[in-house]
C-alpha cells in the first residue's frame, strides 16, 4: 500500500491525534501520533512540516473547542467565563503549556478570540492603554490555575515537623476540590479588583 486511493492522513487528523494524546497525558511526538493513526512516522511529513507545525495545528484546534460564547452580557461575567474555559484548557493539556506560550500567537482563530476579549474590555470602559495588560493578567491567571489544577492530589508532603504547614494540611481539602477552591478565591480576588479599578477610573 504505497498510495491509498483515499488519503489516510490530513493536518486536521494529525492535530486531533496529538491533542488526544496530550489530553490523555501521553507523549504527543511524531512517532506517537503516527502510531495512533496506524501509519509510519515518515508519512506525516507529506502533510506537515514537522513537530513545530503539529503544535501550531494543535493550538488552533484547541482554541475552537474552548471558545467562550461571546453573547452579550456584563463584561465581568464574560471575563469569569473566559478564565474558567482557559483554565480548563491549560489543565487538560499541561505538557502543551510551555510550547504554547513559547511562540508568538498568529493563528487567526486565536487572534480573533483575543480581539473579542479586547473589544469587550474597551466597551466596558477600561482605559485603552490598560486593556492588553488586563488580558495578559487574565492569561497568566488561567495558566497558573490550570497548572495548579493539573498538580498531583497532594501538592505538599512534609517529611519532617513543620511550624504551621503540616497542621493546615491535616484540615485541608485535596485534589480537585482544593484546586477548585483555589481558583474560586483567585478569580474572585481578581474580579473584585478589576471592578474596583473600573469604578475608580470612571469617576
Amino acid at each position: 500500500m504505497a498510495r491509498p486511493s483515499t488519503p489516510l492522513l490530513s493536518p486536521a487528523l494529525i492535530g486531533d491525534a496529538g491533542l488526544e494524546l496530550a489530553r490523555a497525558g501521553r507523549a504527543f511526538g511524531v512517532n506517537a501520533i503516527a502510531r495512533e493513526l496506524g501509519v509510519r512516522p515518515s508519512s506525516l511529513y507529506n502533510h506537515v512540516d514537522g513537530l513545530d507545525e503539529i503544535v501550531e495545528l494543535m493550538r488552533g484546534r484547541l482554541i475552537t473547542s474552548y471558545r467562550v460564547d461571546p453573547s452579550p452580557r456584563p463584561w465581568d461575567a464574560y471575563v469569569r467565563a473566559a478564565l474558567h474555559a482557559h483554565r480548563r484548557m491549560y489543565a487538560d493539556h499541561p505538557t502543551l503549556v510551555p510550547l504554547l506560550i513559547g511562540k508568538t500567537i498568529t493563528h487567526p482563530l486565536v487572534i480573533e478570540a483575543y480581539d473579542e476579549l479586547a473589544t469587550v474590555l474597551v466597551e466596558a470602559g477600561f482605559p485603552e492603554d490598560e486593556v492588553l495588560t488586563v488580558i495578559a493578567v487574565m492569561d497568566a491567571f488561567a495558566i497558573g490555575f490550570g497548572l495548579d489544577l493539573a498538580s498531583p492530589d497532594d501538592v505538599w508532603r512534609p517529611s519532617e515537623d513543620t511550624r504551621t504547614l503540616g497542621r493546615l494540611l491535616d484540615e485541608a481539602e485535596r485534589g480537585d476540590a482544593r484546586a477548585d477552591r483555589t481558583f474560586e478565591l483567585g478569580s474572585t480576588l481578581l474580579l473584585d479588583s478589576l471592578r474596583a479599578r473600573l469604578a475608580r477610573g470612571a469617576d
Copy 2:
C-alpha cells in the same frame, strides 16, 4: 581512565549542570548534562537514579537560590517579595515548570519555604482554613506571570484586520517592559484584594 582518583561527578554537580542548561534555554537531559561535564552519559548513573532524580536535584538547588529573606516585615511586603522571587525563578526556567508542578513537593528545603510563608500568613491574621488557598493562589500567580515573562517579545501578531487588538498593539509596550507592567498590575490587584479581605475578616 576507568576510575579517577578523585571523582569527576557528584549529585550537586549534576544538578547544577542541569540548572545551568535550563537557564540557558537549552535541553537538560542526561546526554546534554554529560556533555557539559565532559563525561559519558552512562557515568551519571553511578551518582543518580535517572532523569527523574536529576529533576528533583534541580528543584532543591533552585529553591535555595531564589529563597526569600524571612526578616520581619509587614506580611504584604513579604508576599510581594515572594511573588517577585518565584516569578523570576519560573521565568528563568520555563521548560522546568511542568516537571516541577507535576510532582508532590517533598524536598525539605522547599517544604521549609512554604512553611515559613504559611506561618507569616497565619500571624498576619488570615483564617487558618484559608491560608493554604492563599498560598496556592500566590503559586498560580508566580507561575503564570513567570511564563508570561518567558514569552516572546511579541505575544500576538495579527495577520488580518482586527476590531480592537491591532490598534491596541500599535500603542503598547513589548518584551520585558510589557511583562513587567503586567506583573505590576497583577500583583497590585492581588495584594489589594488580600488586604481588603483581611480587613473585612478582622471586623
